[in-house]
């Protein structure tokens, strides 16, 4: 139902469906619509040939003195009959071969795919011509030939889909409890494969219609039937071009275009509906951020000052607020841990601060001061020279953060040379080697490609890359997820020692509180797009002021209290389109009272660089501000 609604809103799909429906109606009611019967015997005189359009013949007459419009109307029958029947045969063959190849796998699957590959390289029109020429030109033969030769795309598609379904849990479970192959295919695999096959069928129909018209144009149509390709063949080979009889050429051609375009639009819309491709990418034009006037922080020790940063995402109609007034200060040489569950806006905040938001995201307000400049107010051109030299980032899942077709050393040297053209290529290579050595990868591996590195090594290489231009600030986003525990510890130690050595500031985004306690000076806790608490490690870990922080800590093992039971926090962070009106944590908070559900708690400063956004601390805060 949901899919159907999406389809109804697809302009492309509806246009295609209407175009195809019209063609089908014309084909069905051809005898009622056509002014003449093109199959009736006639005895044209020379004057009847290539008559230009007139009241008697709306689209003129053709090379045989027949009414073009009537031929056009009857011709739709052949196109659609061939299109639908041939597509049925193709999808049946392709479906069975694809299902078996995907479901069976192994030798059978391989053999079937080799077979498919073979047919894929045979030029299909040439083969169709050969076979129709040998078998004879009847409607039946044409349908069979187009149908039997058109199955390869379906087979590949169905196989790929079956392969993914086969590994899904419900299929594995059905197999484990002893379901027969046939049962599993029918109950579990087919329902997942059929919708995709349906979309594919529509595209195969359009191909079959094209093939039919091409064969007919070449002179291999059924000579007893009127089809659009045939009409074009006769008109073209019997002087319509030199006679200037455009009416005998253009209408049948446009009729083919009409039907093929209709089916293609419909097929594409169906495919898009079943398999929506977002298709957004990193190089789309940035939505200009909303800069606000302000002045740089007056204290020289502040390197990065994020102030009241707001990030919105355009999803559907209403913009969703992913970060709502986040303020974080990072001092020079300081390590700040940004913690919270997934989906709390940690990464979004930092990506926004570095002007690297994914497409659809935009800075809706706030300032980001770094080294005396507001990054929000800079144009992309002004920002580019600052990137990597002043701030760099170690991205989450460094598996794909390196270009697979360039060597690791090249990618590091590229950054160095880009920001300092004075450095010679050899100098940059040497520096890249040195950096790789710093992170514990041999200099000699600089010429390797990323796929030749292990996961841990790739993460180290990414860190080496982040350090390439000696930035003052490095943001590391979950640098150790997906790595095993030993490697995790090594990477974190490496980051900590490099930071001290190079006197950088580090913002570490993680949900691992242990890592934060070990490597950071300060902790910032985020929930639902806002900062709920921040302070030094000692303050936040020893004396948490926000119930969310307390629950996070309770969910985390503590080496000092090995006997303590770990408590999970019931529920999940709020979805961006369902942000509660009051405190965002109120629905999950064990200490929430009435006010929490209706009113947003502000951030109460509890001391120098120490704050909590909870009504429970209001009294303490008053104590602080009064005293």
């Amino acid at each position: 139902m949901k899919a159907f609604n999406r389809f109804r809103h697809s302009k492309m799909g509806m246009t295609g469906a209407v175009m195809l429906l019209l063609a089908v109606l014309v084909a069905i009611f051809a005898p009622l619509l056509a002014p003449y019967d093109p199959y009736a015997p006639s005895s044209p005189t020379i004057e009847d040939i290539y008559d230009s359009p007139s009241g008697a013949h709306l689209l003129g007459t053709d090379d045989g003195g027949e009414d073009v419009l009537s031929g056009l109307i009857y011709g739709s029958r052949v196109s659609l009959i061939v299109g639908f029947s041939a597509a049925f045969i193709s999808v049946l063959i392709g479906g069975v071969i694809g299902l078996v190849a995907g479901f069976r796998g192994g030798h059978t699957g391989n053999l079937l795919m080799r077979f498919t590959d073979f047919f894929l390289v045979i030029p299909d029109l040439a083969l169709q011509i050969v076979i129709v020429a040998i078998l004879g030109q009847s409607l039946r033969n044409i349908i069979i030939v187009i149908g039997v030769l058109g199955w390869t795309t379906t087979a590949r598609l169905v196989r790929a889909q079956t392969l993914t379904v086969r590994e899904r849990k419900f299929v594995l479970r059905a197999r484990a409890v002893g379901g027969s192959d046939f049962y599993i295919l029918r109950r579990h695999v087919l329902p997942q494969v059929l919708p995709l096959m349906l979309a594919n069928t529509v595209l195969v129909i359009s191909l079959a219609i094209l093939s039919e018209s091409t064969l007919a144009f070449i002179g291999l149509g059924d000579p007893t039937l009127i089809s659009w390709g045939q009409m074009l063949n006769f008109a073209f080979s019997r002087g319509a071009v030199s006679a200037g009889a455009w009416w005998a050429l253009i209408p049948p051609g446009m009729a083919i275009v009409w039907v093929v375009l209709g089916t293609t639009l419909l097929g594409n819309a169906l495919e898009e509906m079943l398999n929506p491709r977002l298709g957004r990418h990193h190089l789309e034009k940035e939505v200009p951020p909303k800069a606000e006037p302000g002045s740089p922080p007056d204290r020289p020790e502040v390197l990065l000052s994020i102030r009241n940063l707001k990030v919105s995402f355009e999803v559907g109609h209403a913009p969703l607020i992913a970060a709502d007034g986040v303020s974080i200060d990072v001092h020079r040489g300081e390590a700040v841990g940004l913690v919270g569950e997934s989906g709390c806006g940690k990464t979004t905040t930092m990506l926004a601060a570095l002007r690297l938001l994914p497409p659809g995201g935009a800075i809706a307000g706030g300032q980001v001061w770094l080294d005396g400049r507001d990054l929000v107010a800079l144009t992309p051109d002004e920002l580019r020279p600052l990137r990597w030299r002043h701030f760099s980032m170690v991205f989450q899942g460094a598996m794909n953060a390196l270009n697979p077709v360039k060597t690791v050393g090249w990618q590091i040297a590229e950054a160095i040379r880009h920001h300092d053209p004075q450095v010679s290529p050899d100098g940059a290579d040497a520096e890249a080697g040195r950096l790789l050595e710093t992170v514990g990868i041999g200099r000699d591996r600089a010429g390797d490609y990323p796929h030749e590195f292990s996961g841990g090594m790739r993460q180290r290489a990414m860190i080496a890359l982040a350090l390439a231009c000696g930035p003052g600030l490095v943001v590391a986003d979950e640098p150790t997820t997906a790595l095993d525990v030993m490697i995790q510890a090594q990477i974190m130690d490496l980051l900590a020692s490099l930071r001290a050595e190079m006197n950088m500031s580090l913002v570490l985004i993680t949900h691992d509180l242990g890592v934060v306690a070990e490597t950071c000076d300060r902790a910032v806790v985020m929930y639902g797009g806002v900062v709920v608490e921040q302070g030094t490690i000692a303050e936040v870990f020893r004396d948490p002021q926000h119930p969310y922080t307390r629950l996070l800590l309770a969910a985390f093992p503590d080496i000092d209290e090995p006997e303590r039971l770990l408590a999970s926090i019931p529920g999940t962070p709020p979805r961006l389109d369902e942000i509660p009106p009051g405190c965002r944590f109120a629905p999950r908070c064990p200490q929430a009272f009435e006010r929490c559900h209706t009113e947003r708690p502000p951030c109460y400063p509890l001391g120098p660089r120490r704050e909590s956004a909870c009504f429970l601390v209001e009294r303490t805060w008053q104590g602080v501000s009064d005293g």
């Binding site: 299909d124 091409t214 051609g253 298709g279 990418h281 190089l283 270009n403 590229e414 490609y449």
Partner: protein
């Protein structure tokens, strides 16, 4: 597996495919009704002696696949066919005054390449550029019009587009309606070259337009995919300009699927050539195929089909080679 031996394996697979094509081709024309070789000797005017002589000449007295009788296992129609093929002997044409099929195919292939190569190169260059820009400016008017154009050219039968251009070109631009040169024109090298170019213009344009939409679509989706990869974000974070990102990080990665798909689409190119050559009476392989069908010239049809199929297999192999050069990751099959 090293890259060299990997390529060797691909080459071997291509060889196997060609062998299968040859065998398939042989049986297609022998087994199906209307056996071409038999058709010639079924003429009732021939005396039984003449039939026997003809049968012997064409080897039709031999068994089809294996000879279990006298003359050795391989003295059969199939192996004789293979042997003749190895010497470049594809038989003689019925329709073209008994000319050897191989020489007819040779000159036709050259003509087809004259048509296909410029059009294909033009379409690839334009398709890659337009696809790149459409992907980069995804969702803009430019992207939407590019998509619409591609959908429309896809729905436009190649032969119909050819007819349209021919109609327009001959009536309004005074361009020739077909063929390769104006017959009887002999005014020196430059005049002839100009004349050939005038003949080439419309067919090349038709071909290029048809291929362009296809290549553009492939490139567009490939580029959108690459542009959304993490390493593009890394490149952006490094401070590279969009142009630098595309040139150094996106282009090669985006070309990878394109190379494979261009190879897979070669069948599409062949069917385009058949149609364009038919409309513009261009004396290439495609026109030869269609003429062979019209005249039921089976040796020629068989040869033309074989040539087309082998060209596609070889071009596929070339694409594999390009892929191996572009992607350092390919080390296992």
């Amino acid at each position: 597996m090293t890259r060299g031996s990997l390529f060797l394996r691909k080459a071997l697979w291509a060889l196997v495919t060609i062998l299968v094509v040859i065998t398939f081709n042989f049986f297609l024309f022998r087994v199906l009704p209307g056996d071409p070789a038999k058709a010639g000797i079924k003429d009732p005017r021939l005396s039984p002696e003449m039939v026997a002589t003809l049968q012997e000449r064409y080897g039709l007295d031999k068994p089809v696949l294996f000879n279990t009788g006298e003359g050795g296992l391989f003295d059969s129609q199939y192996f004789r066919y293979l042997g003749a093929l190895a010497h470049g002997d594809l038989g003689t044409s019925y329709a073209y005054k008994n000319q050897p099929v191989s020489s007819l195919l040779g000159s036709a292939l050259v003509n087809t390449l004259w048509l296909v190569l410029p059009a294909d190169i033009l379409a690839i260059i334009l398709g890659v550029l337009l696809g790149l820009v459409a992907a980069w400016r995804r969702g803009t008017k430019l992207d939407v019009s590019a998509l619409m154009f591609a959908l429309f050219t896809w729905a436009l039968p190649t032969f119909f587009l050819g007819i349209l251009l021919l109609f327009f070109g001959s009536h309004y631009l005074g361009l020739p309606t077909g063929g390769r040169v104006t017959i009887g024109l002999d005014q020196g090298f430059w005049a002839t070259a100009g004349d050939i170019l005038r003949h080439l213009l419309l067919p090349t344009l038709t071909f290029a337009l048809v291929l362009l939409g296809e290549y553009m679509l492939i490139m567009r989706s490939s580029v959108v995919e690459v542009f959304s990869e993490d390493y593009i974000l890394t490149a952006k974070a490094k401070g590279l300009t969009t142009f630098q990102i595309i040139r150094r990080h996106a282009f090669r990665n985006a070309m990878l699927p394109l190379v494979t798909l261009i190879a897979l689409n070669l069948g599409f190119t062949v069917s385009g050539a058949i149609q364009v050559e038919t409309v513009f009476s261009w004396p290439g392989l495609g026109k030869l195929t269609v003429d062979a069908v019209a005249q039921r010239d089976y040796p020629l049809l068989q040869g033309a089909f074989l040539m087309l199929a082998i060209s596609v297999v070889l071009a596929n192999l070339a694409a594999e080679l390009v892929y191996l050069r572009l992607d350092p990751r390919v080390t296992e099959a």
